[in-house]
């Protein structure tokens, strides 16, 4: 299906709006240099929401997927769904960062956030490996800056630098893999490569080597073990709203591109090989994440390891190599996005009020702020896979997909890990509900906007666990689009 230039322009209207948003931010930061409040965050969030609206109005995918801009991008339901996920997550991040003093007056922070989201949006729609690589870099480089944005704090700078070095390395490996793919297939277009693989025109051995390299790069992006070493340090050192963004939206972007590549790969003869490879990544991530999370004292580090484990569960869905598997992974990503954004929002808030990011800072939270403790409970239980929260159904789906494909052992490994995971989530609950607080002063939430964002997340966590049909429908729709 070919589109006219004006149609193609409309198809990338959300991205265009994001570029405009950056311009607006630059202008505003020049005008309101001295008076600093929540205005930057609000404008950014508003811009993201505008982009969401524009996508609904002008960039809805047609029944038939369309290749646009010289076959560089593909407008399909998967692109659309992931774009919505990224924009929504970025809007929430902008709202949550409004309360963080160290970054809310930094226009460059919001610009980086917008640029990164732009890159992710393109990652989900790229259908050409060159475009894909450019999109990944557009998404990643601003993230390095965001991680290290608190330039006066050693930990933040260390996080930025570490992330940059690891990220640069993994990009190099990935681009090498891309170059091999191009070398073997003679084309940079993903769907042509797929055709070549199916028709046995591309030597399978070459593709295997190339894909292992590409996979390593993606494993870094989604912080799957054994490519996870950057995650705990970066998560701990970054400003908390950046950590939230890294662990959710950035991870979802990695998965979006990974799923597209895997969909193509799985057509190749070595389907089982890929399944085994992804499954072993999944097993390694689940065990590494969950076991190392147990002794952590810093809550951000604990959640970092937990997010490594969560990547493992999502990989279980991918390893299943079925429509149910991919849609379960997307369902999981959506539930995980709202859950983890909420958790990091609370962690950041409590950290600012108590001056500590240790688990012990949460002691007696149920007495100091019962509502916040309840919010934390919802988030942690959703991660643990307890109904009626979104994480429960998401876990059930990925394990179901594994069983359906005859990988029951993978589901068993998964459920064992759920038990380990629940252990350290419950321990945080215990700290909040049983331990005596250091101070008894009640904590009052004075940031209405932040509260709205948090409540929105929590409502979605519950809704995704109870009203299943629309979300499952969206996940399925996205899967069919790839």
């Amino acid at each position: 299906m070919t589109l006219s230039v004006s149609q193609m322009t409309l198809a990338i209207l959300p991205e265009i709006l994001l570029v405009v948003l950056v311009g607006v931010l630059i202008v505003i930061s020049m005008i309101k240099r001295d008076k600093c409040n929540q205005v930057l965050g609000c404008i950014t969030a508003g811009g993201f929401i505008l982009a969401i609206v524009s996508a609904f109005l002008f960039a809805m995918p047609k029944a038939e997927p369309a290749l646009i801009w010289g076959d560089m991008l593909r407008l399909d339901s998967a692109t659309f769904v992931f774009r919505m996920i990224f924009l929504f997550g970025a809007a929430l991040t902008a709202i949550f960062s409004c309360t963080e003093d160290s970054i809310r007056c930094r226009p460059e922070f919001y610009m980086m956030l917008v640029f990164s989201t732009l890159g992710m949006s393109l990652m989900a729609s790229s259908s050409d490996i060159i475009m894909l690589f450019l999109a990944i870099e557009t998404a990643s480089i601003p993230l390095y800056v965001m991680a290290g944005i608190k330039i006066k704090e050693e930990k933040s700078v260390e996080a930025g630098l570490k992330y940059f070095l690891f990220g640069g390395m993994s990009s190099a490996i990935m681009v090498y893999g891309f170059s091999l793919i191009y070398g073997f297939s003679g084309t940079t277009h993903l769907y042509d490569i797929a055709q070549g693989v199916i028709a046995h025109q591309v030597p399978i051995a070459g593709v295997v080597v190339a894909i292992v390299l590409v996979l390593a790069g993606f494993a870094f992006k989604i912080s799957a073990a054994p490519f996870h070493f950057w995650a705990p340090d970066v998560y701990e050192g970054s400003p908390t709203s950046v950590t939230g963004f890294l662990s959710t939206v950035s991870k979802a972007a990695g998965f979006a591109a990974l799923i597209r590549i895997l969909m193509i790969l799985f057509h190749a003869d070595g389907g089982v090989v890929w399944q085994a490879l992804i499954a072993s990544l999944a097993v390694a991530s689940m065990f590494t994440g969950n076991l190392i999370a147990i002794p952590q004292k810093n809550i951000k580090r604990m959640l970092a390891y937990s997010s490594i484990a969560q990547a493992g569960y999502i990989l279980v869905g991918l390893a299943s190599h079925s429509n149910l598997g991919f849609s379960s992974a997307i369902y999981y990503l959506m539930a995980y996005l709202v859950t983890n954004l909420a958790l990091f929002a609370i962690v950041g808030w409590v950290g600012r009020k108590t001056g500590s990011e240790d688990v012990s800072a949460f002691a007696g939270l149920s007495k100091r702020s019962p509502g916040l403790a309840l919010a934390m409970l919802i988030g942690l239980l959703s991660l643990g896979g307890i109904p009626p929260f979104g994480g429960f159904f998401a876990k059930l789906l990925v394990f179901g997909a594994a069983v359906e494909s005859g990988w029951a052992w993978l589901a068993i490994v998964g459920v064992i890990n759920s038990v380990i995971g629940l252990y350290y989530y419950l321990r945080v609950l215990k700290v909040m509900y049983v331990d005596e607080p250091v101070e008894n002063t009640p904590l009052k939430i004075k940031e209405p906007l932040w509260l709205v964002g948090l409540i929105l997340c929590l409502v979605l966590v519950v809704v995704m666990g109870v009203v299943l049909t629309p979300w499952f429908g969206i996940s399925n729709w996205a899967t069919i689009g790839f």
């Binding site: 149920s366 239980l381 069983v403 759920s418 038990v419 215990k430 509900y433 049909t469 499952f472």
Partner: protein, 490 residues
Amino acid sequence: MTFPFLSVLILLPLLAGVILLLLPAGKRGLIRGIALGVSLITFAISVYLFAAYDKDLAGYQFVEQMQWLPALGISYHLGVDGFSLPLELLAGIVVLCGVMVSWKVEDRPREFFAFIMFLASSVFGVFASLDLFLLFFFFELAVFPKYLMIVMWGSPKTKEYGGMKLTLYLFFGSVVALVGVLAIYFTSGLQTFNLLELEQAGFGLAVQKLWFPFIFIGFGVLGGLFPFHSWAPDGHVAAPTAVSMLLAGVEMKVGAFAALRAGLMLLPDGMQFWAPLVLILATINVVYGAFIAMIQTDFKYVIGFSSVSHMGLVFIGFATLTPEGLTGAGLQMFSHGIMTALFFAVVGMVYDRAHTRNMAELGGLAKHMPLAMIGFVVGGLVSMGMPGFSGFVAEIPIYMGAWKTMPLVAIISVISIVVTAAYILLVVRRVFFGETPEPIRAGLSDISVMDKIVVVGLSLLMILIGLIPSLLVPMIQGGVSHILSLVGGA
């Protein structure tokens, strides 16, 4: 469309729990009032359902069905039959009693009653689910209220250990069962979680043999099946009184019931294949539980292990696959639920006044709290299977069933009756008779009015069932005949 009694029964406590959490913490009177009101309503509904159930018609009644996720064949599907309805009634009674004995909770009553309401919703839900997904959903819904109630209001020394152990054991059991559930869902090829359709799926023998242990033993963990029983005594002892009552009285039945519904009823050939193993494990439950209860020095641990012992009889009843055994198992679940709730209520009353559960430091309490003593003795007589009490009508059919299938099991497990009599009488003597030791004398007083209502009500109920078993038996038999029709005339 008829009035959706079951939905109200399940969703009202859930709603009440959420509302309680939103109320200001200071309004203790209002909070208690809402909890009591809701538990009275659920009690009334469960009694009404029990009375209105048409025994001649049998089968599933009060059915409600609504699509939930049609793409995967998940529906909100409720209904009760002769086997599950007595358990709904049991849950209604125990929840009400649990709220009543917790009347004086002072530490964060809002959260306490809210979590009890969530727990109530979960148990009502499991018993009424006709959809495997829904059953699992409600089953797991109980995880966090249980944990938080134990660690927040449990006994200071062991609450963290006991709470975590219980939660992880039960969660582990249920997720293992989940894998089995998913496996049979996909094997059936019916694309439905509807239990009534899955019952008719006719799974191959290999599938049944492979997945039966996952489901039956996975859910059986919550029923206290050996060797996964050790959460039960630790958890019950660590929990506050109302939670012990609910855990031992209702939650353990939830486990056994889920094992029956998803294990035995969906995979009957698997049950037949694995029946010897289940019989052996359950016999160990019965005998071992009783002996261990005998040597305890902690009053509450005695009851904790006695639950393990009695739940073993339920599993024996299941595994016999005979009408007698299954009917007995149904009766035993009801009878033991009431009995153990009464036991834990009395233990709680004693502990609140004496501040110790060590039997060496207790004694002569009959003088100070006579009604509690009478209640405990009635419970004890039920526990020993004394004729005229509900325990007798429950246990005799189980032994009859066991005799038919595997006489050795009946012979060995009968030992437990003697041992049970021994430890119950020992407890009665040590706690309620003899001299009251000086250190505890000061705190002793008679039990409150609320407590008295609970003790008298539960005691009378057990005697009533013992004298007129026909209140329950025909109904349970109706349910059992459906179960046996699935087994195929065994």
